[in-house]
């Protein structure tokens, strides 16, 4: 079974091109945006399925003047734009415009070809669970298959799809882990796939764990369709155990069928068992280690040769299976090795990367069907198959780069998005549960998983309440990890933040209508300052607690937060950032501080925002003046040998204030060998026991960030980071996430702030030490494939 979507979209594109040409001739000139909307809708009507539920249409995009959006509507309440809005440019040739528009809407980021992967194991015997799954789909409309890689999930899905197609069902297959996959793809398939309205359509949604953000959106949409018209839709969802929670968010009642490679092996080896060849069956089990694909190859090998294969024979079989016994040039084998190595890490390879040295070798592999080409990516297929092919190819091309180096080189070239996608797909469960961690790769695996858990909590909380209890600071801190890992949730926060705070270039940001609740923190801060003033017999602050303008303090602090928020946006709004930067310049005191000078962490916060926006001591007079002031020794300035008192009594410790000030200085480009920076760094190390105290998680998060930013090796703080991640992952820590400062007597944004810091820290560590994590994963794989290697 294969659903080739590209032919359908090509058909649509041709129809629209023809229509656009005709319209151009008729109009004899440029089209207006409404005319183009009508033109595109005519074209859609000519080719799309007349479906009572799903409709594709072009409409004017209210968010972009003179823009046209392709929108999918699904009764009664699903509407979403396809990949991006298209801005109509009346000065351009309408034919070219329509073509570009289609390229953007339908082919972005790449042409897609989604079909169920062709696995050797998909031919052959039915599993007992196959008929159970088909029955449940007909009865309940949704089933979830849960199992680790190569446990036979896709095997079952392919069988079930084939069987149900025989009953007139239509089937669409969506691999969430596919880098070219999007929600638009799923629905475009549906819109363009002829269906018998009397029968059901089956969504097969694979690799839910591969892209949690997309999986959530996709499952939510499918779930709504199914609940509106249960007789028309059914869903078969495939996921590793780590993705089950995401499935439950949309399909709470889904029947879960655990998949175990052993079930596939049992079925495959039945014929052997009938020959009372128990040893062979047991040996195949041991050899495969629960991997259905290896088991399948081993059984086939045994049938042909009468003996069990070793690792090298398995690799040989796998290689010849995918090359169809066609001879390959040395260059093609070398390239195949590289693609296979990446494939075993679940990395799909950008075609232009694969072709960078030898385009002909890539053409050879594609034309022989050795690698599949979908859009701008190439792949071998299942990761087990890739591992075996890599083993074979690697031993036939002499000296080669090590697998870890190949993967790391690719990830560095491919950029952040690919790194996230790869990390999402790596099976880190075994590595992270390892009790022996010689080099630290298990720690990194754990840290990454913790960071993902924190992001999930943050996403979950954001979707439940994007205002975080009307707390703009909490929402902004929560936005930081979401900007990278869940843009949909980030946009919910952006909507709240941007409507609740107004920005103008020449004065402080202000609440749009009503105050947001982080303002209550400043009332608590005022009390702590007053207590401090009472205790302070050695020398009073110039500005006592009752002289501080709390609103001004709050708004100045929010300026820093808003700067950071906008600077980290997935798509920056340059004008808003420029206004905030201008605002910072206009409100700065002549001495360099941001109000009030008694509280240096407010200046540090604004500096952090400016640094995020790209300003530094080298480029900005505002930043330079503020950094100079922070470094000015007491009594003229706030620094006492690189130590900054909070000015807010017991609300903030000296350690966390110093950490924040140091962080701001370093982020703004003050040199690490600056005397103030050096003494501040030493102070933090000297106070390590204090900021590691239970209850001082915020201090620890800030201190760890600045230590790592100052060049300390993460291993030196590994235990502290581990403890903090453990704390932040505990759901109980989140129970106060929406409480006000008055209730918890602590900072109201503590939990999202720490979560954000932790995710940032882990991400920074992984970016610099990704090779170590890949090394750990490679070792796990090597262990798996070593069995019988020298047999």
């Amino acid at each position: 079974m294969s659903l080739d979507h590209r032919s359908a979209s090509d058909q649509l594109a041709k129809a629209m091109m023809g229509l656009a040409s005709g319209t151009r001739a008729a109009a004899d000139g440029a089209l207006t945006a409404p005319e183009l909307v009508a033109t595109i809708n005519d074209a859609i009507a000519a080719v799309a399925v007349d479906d009572p539920v799903l409709r594709l249409e072009a409409e004017l995009d209210p968010g972009a003047p003179a823009g046209v959006a392709l929108v999918c509507s699904a009764a009664p309440d699903i509407r979403f734009p396809f990949a991006r809005s298209i801005t109509f440019d009346s000065s351009r040739d309408p034919v070219v415009w329509v073509r570009d528009a289609l390229a953007l809407a339908l082919e972005w980021p790449a042409p897609r070809d989604q079909s169920i992967p062709s696995l050797p194991a998909t031919q052959g015997v039915d599993l007992p669970r196959d008929s159970q799954v088909a029955d449940l789909l007909q009865r309940d409309g949704v089933v979830t298959l849960v199992g680790v890689s190569a446990s036979g999930k896709t095997y079952t899905a392919a069988h079930v799809a084939t069987n149900l197609e025989a009953f007139g069902w239509t089937v669409s297959f969506t691999d969430i882990g596919n880098p070219a996959c999007g929600l638009d793809l799923l629905f475009l398939q549906l819109i363009l796939t002829p269906r018998n309205n009397a029968s059901k359509h089956l969504f097969i949604i694979d690799n839910v764990q591969g892209n949690p953000g997309l999986a959530r959106a996709c499952l939510a949409a499918v779930s709504r369709l199914s609940s509106n018209q249960p007789d028309m839709w059914a869903s078969l969802i495939l996921t590793w155990p780590s993705g089950l929670q995401i499935v439950r968010e949309s399909f709470l009642a889904s029947r879960v069928i655990p998949c175990d490679g052993d079930e596939v092996l049992n079925t495959l080896t039945k014929s052997l068992a009938r020959r009372d060849d128990d040893d062979i069956v047991n040996n195949i089990r041991a050899l495969s280690g629960g991997d259905a694909l290896i088991g399948h190859l081993a059984v086939d090998y045994y049938h042909v040769n009468g003996s069990l294969p070793g690792a090298s024979e398995l690799a040989d079989v796998a290689f010849h299976e995918i090359t169809h016994d066609e001879p390959l040039s040395d260059q093609a084998i070398a390239l195949l090795y590289e693609i296979a190595v990446l494939g075993q890490f679940e990395v799909d390879v950008a075609a232009n990367y694969a072709a960078r040295n030898d385009p002909e070798a890539l053409s050879e592999l594609v034309s022989l069907g050795v690698v599949r080409n979908y859009g701008s990516f190439v792949t071998i297929g299942h990761r087990t198959l890739a591992a075996l092919v890599a083993a074979y190819a690697g031993s036939h091309i002499g000296k080669v780069a090590g697998p870890v180096q190949i993967v790391v080189n690719y990830l560095k070239a491919a950029g952040e998005a690919q790194l996230v996608a790869t990390l999402e797909r790596l099976d880190l469960a075994k590595l992270s549960s390892s009790t022996r961690d010689q080099h630290g790769s298990a720690f990194l695996a754990n840290a990454w998983q913790s960071a993902r858990v924190l992001t999930r909590y943050t996403s979950h909380q954001t979707r439940a309440d994007p205002t975080w209890g009307n707390n703009a600071a909490s929402a902004i801190f929560a936005g930081e990890p979401l900007a990278r890992f869940d843009v949909g949730a980030w946009e919910l926060i952006a909507e709240f933040v941007r409507t609740s705070w107004t920005v103008t270039p020449d004065c402080l940001p202000a609440p749009a209508t009503k105050l947001t609740t982080e303002r209550i923190d400043f009332d608590e801060i005022a009390k702590r300052m007053a207590e401090e003033d009472k205790r302070n017999t050695a020398g009073a602050y110039e500005m006592t607690a009752d002289q501080i303008d709390l609103d001004r303090t709050h708004r100045t602090w929010m300026l820093g937060l808003l700067l950071g928020f906008e600077a980290n946006a997935p798509v920056r709004q340059s004008a808003r950032i420029a206004e905030l930067v201008a605002c910072a310049s206009s409100i700065q005191d002549a001495d360099g501080w941001f109000y009030p000078p008694r509280i240096p962490w407010v200046t540090a916060r604004v500096l952090l925002g400016l640094a995020a926006a790209g300003e530094s001591v080298h480029t900005s007079a505002t930043v330079k003046a503020a950094c100079d002031w922070l470094r000015t020794p007491a009594p003229s300035g706030p620094s006492q040998f690189g130590v900054w008192d909070s000015g807010t009594g017991t609300w903030n410790t000296t350690a966390v204030t110093s950490a924040m000030c140091l962080l701001a200085l370093v982020r703004c480009g003050v040199a690490l060998d600056d005397p103030t920076v050096k003494t501040a760094h030493s102070f933090l190390l000297a106070k390590r026991d204090a900021w590691l105290e239970v209850g001082r998680e915020m201090d620890a998060a800030e201190a760890l960030q600045v230590l790592l930013l100052s060049g300390d090796n993460w291993r030196t703080v590994q235990d502290d980071l581990g403890r903090l991640l453990h704390w932040a992952r505990d759901r109980e820590a989140w129970s106060t996430a929406l409480h006000s400062a008055a209730d918890v007597q602590d900072e109201s944004c503590k939990v999202p702030q720490i979560a954000g810091s932790m995710v940032r820290l882990v991400w920074a560590i992984l970016n610099t030490d990704i090779s170590l994590l890949v090394e750990g994963v490679a070792t796990e794989m090597s262990n798996r494939l070593l069995r019988g290697a020298t047999a």
Binding site: R436, Q438, D689, R696, R715, T779, T790
Partner: protein, 473 residues
Amino acid sequence: VSADTTESTFLEQARQLLLDHRARQDGGDPSVVHIPDSILPELHRAAGTSLKSKVLQIIPFHVDRWNPEAFEHLVWRQVATMGHTVERLYVAPHRGVATDVLERQLALDDSAGVHTFVTFVTALPEDIQGTVGAGLWILDDETVVAAEPSTDGIPDGWTISQRPPDINAARDAWNVMVDVAEDSGDTTAATLALEEPLVLSADLVCGVADILCAGDHVAPEGCGWYHGTWQYLRLLDMVSTPTWHSTFYLENLSTALRAKPTSRVLITGTADYSMFAYVDMAATSTGSSPEITVLDLCTTPLFACRWYAKRVGRAVGTVSEDIVAFGESESQRGAWEIITTDAFMTRFSEEECHRVAKLWFGLLTPGGILVTTIRIHSRTPGGRDEESAARDFGVRAHKRAERWRPFLDSPPEQIAARAEVYARRMVSADLGSELDVLKMLEDVGFDVVDKQLAEVPGELHPTTYLEVACTRP
């Protein structure tokens, strides 16, 4: 400004510091209380008094300052006799340290109805080693008392928390540690771990290396950086030793010794007494009486072997000589039933290696067996450059050595510096694939009787070794 005024101002400032400190200690999270270590006895008393039903305690066993009759032990024994559940888990640095004191403690606890477990630092998962710090109690599953982190194992203070995340974390730590711990009833039956004396010998060997090391195959110009560091790195489990191939060595050596209990065993090249300890253990488990000789160019590892031999009461012969000269000596040809050595071949170039294999063959009597391991470079999945891997090695050594600080003379900083030198200087020759190595042994005339690849943690990267046993026909 007069001197009186200065003094007065500073006194005021000092008082202010104390007041601020106290205010911050008191003014933080209301679910958390910090107290100084100096009132620990009062804390024991208060906790014992307020306990409702059950306490779980993780307690580091500090050999040098342990008194089974100390106040804190008496309190909890009394609590147990009052009918409350008291479970204690003692964490000792390694087996065999002050066993008499620990056994006395366990006996007293047992008599009072305290349920005890014992575990060892090296048995704990690495992340837990850092977590438990200097002690942890869970009272009635609702309060955690945790020693505050410190670098020397002596807590500066204690944190009492009722925050659910802290309770959950403590409970997780307890469960993991109990999983790897032994019920106290089993401790006396447990055999000594081979690594046990390391903590006693590492400083000694390091000191001796400065005097004795004059050069060997690894470092002809002087091998003190290698032999002096080796035992620390073994203690920290950071270098390739027979321990990483424990089953392989014990099985093959035991089989050979069972076949001929009075075998002449030759260890050709060793960094310390580890290989000798394996032969000794195989001999003990099979009840055999082999004649064991250790050959090495440098006298430091020979000294270590004699130290260990005396400790376990087994005779050992030591020969300080080059393997080539020794192997070509007529008197030694065909004189040995068993030759064993760990990861020795990769100390030589490919050509030299072939010669060494021939020497081994010549040294063995017909039917004799060679038992060894060889690193297979081509299978190393390393991805980090050597420079950063070496730097990491030093940092890891520092981190691990912190946990041994109370038990070693060398401070972690010194061990880390030595480790980094080791990582930069140690060279291991690439002898090709496992097939190449096996072919070389077979070309010399050996019959390979046991072989497998083993993935081991590795020094700078995860590493694959070929474990091979082969006989002279």
